[in-house]
Symmetry: C2
Subunit: 293 residues, 2 copies
Amino acid sequence: MGELNEWELLEKIEAAVPAAGDDCAVIPWGDIHLLLTTDLLHQSSDFPPGTTPYTMGWRVVAASLSDIAAMGGRPVAVVLAASAPSWEDLFPGLLAGAQAACRGAGTELVGGDLDFSQELTLVATALGEAVQPVRRAGAKPGDLLCLTGALGRTALALHLFSRGALEEANRLFRFSPRLQEGQRLAGLATAMIDVSDGLAHSAHLLARASRVGMEIDVEALPLLPGLAEAFPGEAREQALYCGEDYELLFTIPPDRYRPELGRVIGEVVPTGVWLREDGRRRPLPDRGWSHGP
Amino acid sequence: MGELNEWELLEKIEAAVPAAGDDCAVIPWGDIHLLLTTDLLHQSSDFPPGTTPYTMGWRVVAASLSDIAAMGGRPVAVVLAASAPSWEDLFPGLLAGAQAACRGAGTELVGGDLDFSQELTLVATALGEAVQPVRRAGAKPGDLLCLTGALGRTALALHLFSRGALEEANRLFRFSPRLQEGQRLAGLATAMIDVSDGLAHSAHLLARASRVGMEIDVEALPLLPGLAEAFPGEAREQALYCGEDYELLFTIPPDRYRPELGRVIGEVVPTGVWLREDGRRRPLPDRGWSHGP
């Protein structure tokens, strides 16, 4: 097989591993479901210079908990495997950040593994539970397409890292996974995903899993304060494609929608993924943040 | 803090993470316990040249399942996070090996994450369950000290890799975690650990957790066929310190012992960790395979 990028690889995993292909693996367990998800972050592509060990530990745990949130789940426990060239300066901050992210989400870091390697690599695995897990499949034409929070968190953070505004950049990187929002949506949303590789790609994944289309209203996209100043003339581009917003994108029938669940940014249509602007629609390309070889 | 080795780091984790410090984290769950454990392996220290992708995938999963076995648990599901410079030649074999190790243990690979990095790094996380988890703490003076299987598996495999006997070396590397043995010991063994960093270190960890001592009878140590020829005059040294045997070391009161549970290699004593040879005993040093910085 030829050289693959991350998304193509994930599709190959889904083809070979029947239980994969959603934000978490779902394991039926008596009357409920257990959720299991693992996320790998590493220095060269995930932590710009200036990222503190505390932020790194927080972020890898939060990325994993965001997948639990995207199923409408409650986190049960987190384990962390980590490898680095040296632990002398890293360990206390990394551990404190990982534990703080767990505590903030009402869960606990219960174990881990440590090793030595040239590049810092972190893998957080979260265990969760859900009575009624919300999957990527389930959206129906006519459902509203909605989003928690605002877009551009990581785009803005990367901008701030590059300008040396490290404190604010680190603060933005330490996002809170949308667990309460996700749990509130269980039983209401018909499909859900977390926006980890950009809104465009997440919309495509939802559409593909649900065998429907999506139409996104550009004017309705909520942008983080400061994004427009940081990216003059291309804030929406960043909001659509930059990725790692860690908000929840979900679909819900109009009669179940309430504004406190999230903002309406479009609707589910029979086919295609579209961007609506000035009364016209054009195809929304399936591109965004993909780790390449 | 000064530069630490792997064992010192794991002790620091145990001090900071109350739920850590056993082969798995144990999560009370209704009438039973959930088990969660994560293991990181990487190219430079874990996979000698000649290790096939299939063996790598198998081994990282089996290492994680061995921790479930060491608690007397039953595996429920496994997820795999992996990072490599290129996936072209690695992916199919790695996935097939990981899935085969799961199937052999009666469980399933349910998901994963893939990324790109300079060094191949694999992290398997296993979820398990146990009615009555067997911990490292619990050994009592007078208990028998016992071992499943034989020692020297990885020592012999590394020897074969270095001599180019790759097929046999890979076969030895693809060990079967002792799940059935572990489950049979639940309710019988007073303490248990898997031998992942050498028998000597595992005995020290059991002794420390149980606040007792251990005395190991050198003559009783079961060695793998071929180990003595591969390491003339130092087979016992390899058996005590090389590590990654992935057998179960456990303690059990004499009246519960049956030969099919494992071989008696010593006994639990009040204090100290000792090696008995020719009727005399000498201290067994706490050394073995530790990944250094």
